[in-house]
Symmetry: C2
Subunit: 243 residues, 2 copies
């Protein structure tokens, strides 16, 4: 039976990959993915066959991966971060029903919520919610409800896809919603280009975050009511008595 | 300046570690952690100095790590899964204020929500919430509110620490709360001993989960309203049109 890996490569730098990720990349005859992610791993596998497609072509890309596997190739579908979290794993399983039986293995990876948190300090040490602000596949009303409910329950939050060219004001909208339930001085932060050359972080208040300029390579963190700044780091205490 | 790593080792098997994790373990003069996690990595570093303490000694353990670093040692504080998510990163930052300046680096890892999801299929492909059912550091009322709000907003959920000897009925209580807002046939699953010899998974309905027997080495997954079983796997579709 042919093998198809869905591989989470982590933030993008080789150090952020797991050993299992490196092995699955190695074992694959052909690597399939979004052009930007394929470019991140191509230096590790300069001679490997690749099938890179631009954004928005996810269904066609996954169908192609399944077709290559049906032809007997060992295929690696490459995702940034984790293979499941806003990755291709679910789509592969959905589409695989139309293809001959296949051995599908999901290789988990360090998603941006974890990679960004490590750079900022420890913002997600307590219960947290992960929300994508992209309304391409999820209606905005559902996103808004999740922001409201996560805020009401004092979850820490990681926001993916906080902006794009077409959605320049989505983070501002999201912060406006969160500000109805969380204090304006709630500690927030963001991490940009995690694991890449231009990697940077910033900490700021929720009120300031509302007007921050972010892009699609940014992951945003909103603290809970206990989150604080310690020597410039964004820290959510777990609640231990320190004495 | 001394260096202190807080290292997420992933599920526990060497393949689940990142390259950065392996490098940080290698670079550390002494490894500090909960006995069970230290035992997982000791075979990789049989000659390395270790300081292993049982559960509940987290503050003393972190103080010890900081003291060793203050003495000039390169210290690796070992956490299972991620370094931040219910890990030691926040506690280290809180306590470090009382010690000489230190170069603290957080090495993120594959937390159980991602590792378990990969085994089950793709349960966390949409917005999700991570909640620990342990009320050692968080009042049960806060946990209950988070379960209610996450359910109301149709988040997928990963539940950590679903049970212990003293909290044998906590998963049953949690499912009772979730059942007020999610359908009894909501697809759920759990993963046990992720990355270890006795690794296993099970899928079941939310109604069945309420009576499931789980232990402290289990991570529980509750789907959203769209989650389905595809060939035995727990899959949350992202919403792509498949044609």
């Amino acid at each position: 039976m042919s093998k198809l890996f869905v591989i989470g490569i982590g933030p993008g730098n080789p150090e952020g990959m797991t050993i299992a990720c490196r092995a699955a990349l190695e074992q694959s005859d052909v690597l399939v993915g979004y052009t930007v992610y394929i470019d991140l791993i191509r230096p590790l596998h300069p001679k490997k066959a690749v099938f890179a497609t631009p954004m928005m072509g996810e269904v066609a890309r996954c169908k192609n991966a399944l077709m290559l596997a049906a032809q007997g190739k060992t295929v690696g579908v490459v995702c940034s971060g984790d293979a499941g979290v806003y990755g291709m794993a679910s789509l592969i399983f959905e589409l695989a029903q139309e293809y001959p039986p296949l051995d599908i293995e999901i290789v988990p990876g360090v998603t941006a919520a974890l990679g960004g948190a490590a750079l900022l300090g420890a913002p997600l040490s307590c219960d947290f919610a992960v929300v994508s602000l992209s309304d391409l596949l999820t209606p905005w009303a559902a996103i808004e409800k999740r922001l409201v409910c996560a805020s009401m329950a004092d979850f820490c939050m990681a926001l993916y896809n906080p902006a794009s060219k077409k959605r320049a004001d989505y983070l501002e909208k999201a912060c406006g919603i969160v500000l109805r339930h969380k204090a304006p001085d709630t500690i927030c932060g963001f991490a940009r280009n995690i694991g890449r050359a231009e990697e940077c972080t910033e900490t700021l208040s929720l009120a300031e975050l509302k007007n921050a300029k972010v892009d699609m390579f940014t992951t945003v963190f909103i603290g809970n009511s206990q989150t604080k700044l310690i020597q410039g780091r964004m820290i959510t205490p777990r609640g231990y008595r320190l004495d």
